[in-house]
Symmetry: C2
DNA sequence: CAGGTATTTAACTAAATACCTAAATACTGG
DNA sequence: CCAGTATTTAGGTATTTAGTTAAATACCTG
């Protein structure tokens, strides 16, 4: 299901990218890369993982690509957390 | 910081364990294992990861160990999500 | 269109993860 | 204390992941 979501946010660098995008609204890979030590290729991989999980989206304008947050997808994890912690919603299933 | 939390929930089997514990309040590894195909040793590893992330806690009573959810830790991820999606709370930091 | 900048893809390596089986540990009941 | 049950630890393997460098692609400007 939303496995790609959980995998995507399991990495601290990717979480940092999300926070950068939150702060700056829109950034190119070049700008994001200034905040990290690793290569542009590694960054590109991280962006692909975030794109696949639909946590960010890209808009190409000329020479640059502008990345932004796609906050709507975070609802997935909120609903998952609610499912785990909400004591009122207890399903009764005898999975045995 | 709470890296262990994100790593712990990145695995679908571990998320399933959390949901099982939510449903049944308290379970032994043996009971949890009935819901999975893999070995008891593999399960034990998953439980250790969840314990380390403080998502569950264990109480030993005689021959058995009873695992339960520790829902309080989920506040961490909720506050992280809020940090990412909440547009009002925009810090201004020139990290360059 | 040639050179330059921005980004991604390819091919690879090293480290981490998820699993296995077998052995070790911890407890219970006869 | 011995045999049995429950769980964890140890040691090993296969797969995945995060990074590397080098090459490819895409666009811009002169």
């Amino acid at each position: 299901m939303s496995d790609s979501f959980f995998k995507a946010i399991a990495d601290a660098n990717r979480r940092k990218i999300l926070l950068l995008l939150k702060k700056h609204i829109t950034l190119t890979p070049g700008e994001i890369g200034q905040h990290f030590e690793f290569s542009g290729a590694a960054l590109s991989e991280h962006l692909k993982i975030l794109r696949t999980a639909e946590l960010i989206y890209a808009q190409k304008r000329g020479q640059y690509i502008y990345y932004s947050l796609n906050t709507s997808v975070f609802e997935d994890i909120i609903s998952w957390i609610m499912q785990v912690i909400d004591k009122s919603e207890v399903q009764d299933e005898k999975t045995r």
